[in-house]
Symmetry: C2
Subunit: 398 residues, 2 copies
């Protein structure tokens, strides 16, 4: 058989590609602090398994292609409580936020079309685009201005006739940036002026630490342009459930997305049952979790400040921080740390930064750290990172 | 926003597109016998929910991108017992057979490339191809020769430089055909001669009624060409679990498919737990189910023989039968039956045949019937179908 150029052009996930090195380190008896992957350690609310255990059906049958009504209603209610009124017809349950993104790319892009992102950005956006022959149109942002957006003029300069959408993660992964209302207004003006879709990946919506959050879904002027990507994965620490959704008030879009849903038949039923129950979790759960992550954010920011030569962003949301390190190559450093470094048998793993950039050569000395560990473990992990930086033969003083 | 040509070119599922008419019939108080969808009524083995209920984990975390080891091993063991030895590295767990098909298309086709199928064929193959800009290259078969394959010469005539794979469903959906060993040898020669992939969709493998089944996986000469599509959906009456797999000994392919797996992160964990338990179901379960479907097959074939002007295939496997009916248009007839016909408040729904063909104008007076109901219900449903045929204003005598 002859394999497609398409699949050969895909790159391995920067978050997972060093896993074999971590496995080897563990096999050699090392403890590895995982800062590479956004897998929260917070317990999933008991409602999830409680409702699954109660599920009774003689036949595990196909469910509704766009999601079971009990889950659609749970999602609708969650949004209504945030002041966003969506009809059941506007909501489509997907296999995680991943499939919601896939449906958005499919709906908007023919081969050669472009989706604008602000780099650094979530690496799988590139994969989902490449799978469908679409291209990433990456507009740079930098640690110096906290990964906030460039000016309206600068963004418009990057728009081409092939640009079909702007895809934003807010709060940001990997940057932790939370856009200001002014930035959101600017994006709104741009997408409306150029008749673009705005794909708003808001899966980290509940993780905002320094002020209120303002969903793009609360901006009625965007109704025709907006596609919201959402998921229970991070919100309720249920990444393994793979339940997300795509939401839009654009009726033409909804008419098309249902065809994608029908082709893959349906989302898994048990996870839909569990996910619907998650939405009944009392608000206090999210408040507690938010407090815990804020604390972790403060811990990791303070710990990183102590490391000479390390420059970090000041994340306002999500649970990631991008760091610029005094190394020749963060990927080499990551492998070296797993293979050659330990303190009392413990080492650390992080995601090399280059995988979050589209522009060749960018992010080479950067890394994404996920602060998904308890504060004491985070302090220990950053201490180990600092000592590794001192010992690493490829250290570069700037 | 501007929608893609891609998504606008997708067609609604022939199996599901008439659902609004069925819903309306039910709302009006009619009972509808569903022969339109391959949703078995057989109880899912208790092992599924039993194992799910026992699942204990504080965090519903991401699982392995290519599937959890316990499920990979369960699949491996199932194949080994059938004389097919696959390494764990050869097996990738997917979100149903649907995602396995999607990965196969992605791995083999760039835009404009072709996948050869024998029509009539499972309608979503077209959707999965269109999603990736690939084309269906449909070779006709007919009810007259039981939907068996054309000659080697005839098949080779259809191969073009763009043909990357032959995709076969065996046993067939919607035809119920089971290919002979001679046909399988012929296909093997063709794919090896032309360096094509052979995508063998064998999800109905356990449903064969008149003799032994011979998987393409038992033909070692095909190791480099073969991609097996499999699923627990039909085998264990667990369609809603959405657990399938893609299997191949082609190492170049495996190296690529893992990237698709990683991009969408993982399959849902609870359903993997349940699916692994399904593979521990005693062989007697599948034997009983097989006996039940054989009985239903005999029932529906006998019942259809009584209907004047109806020509049906003689299905040897799966649980579908294609019928040629004396009507102007099977889709119009299907809608008319749901809207205007009932006997004692009961009516019947089936899938119009044109959706299973790629060639325009084909299958217009055909329908796919799924024999997934108890024999007495099947007899009743076919009786209603026969009476509807008598009363239908668009009846055409041939």
């Amino acid at each position: 058989m002859i394999l497609s150029q398409r699949i050969q052009s895909l790159t391995a996930s920067p978050i997972r590609k060093l896993s074999p090195y971590a496995d080897a380190a563990k096999a050699a008896g090392k403890k590895v602090y995982h800062l590479n992957i956004g897998q929260p350690d917070i317990a999933t609310p008991a409602q999830f398994m409680d409702s699954v255990r109660e599920f009774q059906a003689p036949v595990i049958a196909y469910s509704n292609s766009k999601g079971e009504m009990f889950l659609l209603k749970a999602i609708q209610k969650y949004y209504a409580e945030k002041g966003m009124d969506y009809a059941i017809e506007d909501i489509f349950v997907t296999n995680g936020g991943s499939e919601a993104l896939i449906f958005a790319v499919m709906a908007l892009c023919d081969p050669g079309d472009e989706i604008m992102v602000f780099e650094p950005f979530y690496a799988n956006y590139t994969t989902f685009c490449k799978e469908f022959g679409a291209k990433i149109n990456a507009v740079p942002t930098s640690v110096e201005n906290g990964y906030h957006l460039p000016s309206e003029e600068e963004i418009e300069k990057h728009i081409t006739p092939k640009t079909k959408a702007i895809l934003l993660t807010n709060p940001g992964n990997p940057t932790g940036v939370v856009y200001t209302e002014e930035e959101q207004d600017m994006i709104s003006r741009i997408v409306r002026k150029h008749n673009l879709a705005l794909i708003a990946d808001e899966v980290y919506r509940e993780f905002v630490y320094d002020g209120a959050y303002h969903s793009f879904g609360t901006m009625p002027e965007l109704d025709d342009n907006l596609i919201i990507i959402d998921s229970v994965s991070k919100r309720y620490s249920a990444c393994g459930a793979r339940i997300g959704c795509i939401i839009s008030k654009n009726k033409e879009l909804s008419k098309q997305v249902i065809k994608c849903c029908q082709a893959r038949l349906c989302s898994p039923i048990l996870e839909q049952v569990g996910a619907a129950a998650l939405y009944t979790t009392p608000a206090s759960y999210l408040e507690e979790v938010n407090k815990e992550y804020k604390n972790r954010r403060d811990t990791i920011v303070a710990a990183l400040k102590k490391l000479p030569g390390v420059k970090a962003s000041d994340p306002k949301g999500a649970f990631y921080i991008m760091v610029n390190m005094p190394v020749d190559d963060a990927e080499k450093f990551a492998i070296w740390t797993l293979e050659n470094f330990a303190i009392d048998g413990e080492t650390v793993m992080f995601a090399p930064g280059n995988g979050f950039y589209n522009t060749p050569g960018s992010g080479v000395n950067e890394a994404r750290l996920a602060y998904v560990l308890k504060s004491e473990d985070l302090e220990r992990a950053i201490y180990i990172l600092g000592e590794a930086l001192k010992a690493y033969p490829g250290r570069v003083e700037k």
